[in-house]
Subunit: 249 residues, 2 copies
C-alpha cells in the first residue's frame, strides 16, 4: 500500500515579497518524511481570501493531509481562519476552550485580552483545536487541513502537538552512495539501476569544493532490502567503471 | 497599470523529502520585488513528467512570467527540459550553440563530453538560451517560462544573465513602522489605515526577544507618497494611543 500523502501551503505576502525567508516548508518536509507521509507538493500563496479558498480546496481534494502556516494572528491581514472555514462552507465562532486558554495565558501579565486578541479564539465550527505550547492561541484541524501559525517556533510546537495523531506509513529507507566523479560519468549506471529497481528512486546530486568534485547518489524506497541491494549493485558498477565509490551510508 | 506577475516552480524530489532545503524561492522573490514584478505564488513539485506539465501549464496561463529551478542536469532524473517542451507541444533537439558552449567549457579538462553530458545541450525547439556563467550548460526560455538550474549559485548566475530582458514594473515602496507594543494593541489602528489607504498593503509582524516585544508594521504600495502618508498617519495614531512608535524607515 502506498504511503499517505500531504501538501504544505504557506500563506503570507511577506514570503512572496522576499522580505521574510520561509523556513517552514523544509522543516515540515523533514518531519513528514520521518513519519512515512509523502509530501507531494508545497505552495506559497498570498493573503487573499479567494486565493486561499481555491488552493486549500485543490490541495485538500488531492492529498490525505494539508498543513498550512501563517495568517492566524489578531490583525486585519490574518484571514486564514475565515478562508479555510469558507473553503469547507462552515462558519467561524468564538471557541470557549480557546478563550479559556487565552485568558489563562494573559492572566497576571500586563497584556489586556481585548476584542482584537479575542479574534484568535474564533475557530471554524466542527474544527479540533491544535495546542500551542508557546503562545496559547491555538491552531485547528478542519477535515484534513491542519492550520498552524507562521512563526517557525510556534508552528513547530503546534506540529509536535498534533503529529502523534497523524496516520503515518512506512518510513522510507534512504542510502547515499558517494561517487568520486562527475555525474556525467555515472549517469548510465544510475539509469540502469533506476530501470532495474522500479520502486527505488535514484537521485543524483553533483557537488563541488575547491580541488574536488563528486556525485552523491541518493537511493530511496519503502522496501529496505531492495534499496540496500540497489545501493550495493550501484557501488560495484561504479567501481567496475573505474571510479571510486564509497559504500552506502 | 498593475505590475507584471510571476510564479516560481521549484522542481525536485530532494526538496520534498526534506533532504535539501530550498534557497531559490526566497532569492528569486527578492530579485522580482526589486524589478517591480509581483510574485503571485511559488510551488515545489516532484520530478514527475505529468506533474511538471500540469503545473507549468497552469502557472504559465495565469502569470506573465514563470521561473523554474531544478532538473536540467545530465542524469535520468533530470526531466524538466522534456516536460516543459511537452507542456508547449514542441520537441527537444540538440542545440548547436549549446553544444559549442559545452565543448568550449570541457576543452582542456579531464572531463569527457560524452553522450550523457551532451544531453545538457538538448533544448526545446524555438527556445532562447539562458547563459550559465558558472558551468556553461545553458538554461532556456520557452514562451513565458524561464528554465534554470537547481544549484543556487548556478541558478543565480542564470537569473542575473536574463533579468535585464524582463519587463519590470514600478518598484514597490516599503516602509516599516516599529511599534513598542503587541499587535493586539494596535490592530484596530492597522485596520483603519488599511481601509483608508486601499492601495497600501499593511502587514503586521510581531517579534519577541528576551525582555522585549513589539510589532513591525510593514506598509507596501506602488505609490510612494501614499505609502509615506500612511506610515506617518499610522505612527501618529499609535503614539496617540499611548504606545511608542519609531518613524518609518
Amino acid at each position: 500500500m502506498a504511503n499517505p500523502t500531504a501538501a504544505i501551503c504557506v500563506i503570507g505576502d511577506e514570503i512572496l515579497s522576499g522580505r521574510t525567508k520561509d523556513k517552514n516548508i523544509g522543516w515540515i518536509a523533514e518531519q513528514l518524511n520521518g513519519l512515512g507521509i509523502q509530501l507531494t507538493q508545497a505552495r506559497v500563496i498570498a493573503d487573499v481570501k479567494e486565493t486561499i479558498i481555491r488552493h486549500i480546496t485543490e490541495l485538500s481534494d488531492e492529498n490525505d493531509y494539508v498543513f498550512t502556516s501563517g495568517g492566524i494572528g489578531p490583525t486585519h491581514d490574518d484571514i486564514t481562519t475565515e478562508s479555510v472555514a469558507a473553503a469547507f462552507n462552515v462558519t467561524v465562532e468564538r471557541n470557549q476552550e480557546a478563550m479559556r486558554r487565552l485568558e489563562q495565558h494573559y492572566k497576571g501579565t500586563e497584556i489586556v485580552l481585548n476584542e482584537v486578541r479575542k479574534k484568535m479564539a474564533d475557530i471554524p465550527v466542527g474544527a479540533t483545536l491544535i495546542d500551542n505550547p508557546v503562545s496559547a492561541a491555538p491552531g485547528f484541524q478542519l477535515e484534513n487541513v491542519y492550520v498552524m501559525a507562521g512563526v517557525p517556533s510556534i508552528m513547530q510546537s503546534m506540529f509536535e502537538s498534533l503529529s502523534a495523531s497523524l496516520k503515518g506509513g512506512i518510513i522510507p529507507t534512504r542510502l547515499t552512495v558517494q561517487c568520486a566523479t562527475g555525474e556525467g560519468n555515472v549517469a548510465h549506471i544510475l539509469e540502469q539501476i533506476s530501470n532495474q529497481y522500479e520502486t527505488v528512486s535514484v537521485g543524483s546530486y553533483p557537488w563541488f569544493k575547491p580541488g574536488q568534485f563528486g556525485t552523491a547518489v541518493v537511493l530511496t524506497g519503502l522496501d529496505e532490502s531492495l534499496v540496500s541491494n540497489a545501493a550495493k549493485e550501484l557501488c560495484q558498477l561504479v567501481k567496475h567503471a573505474g571510479f571510486e565509490a564509497e559504500d552506502a551510508v
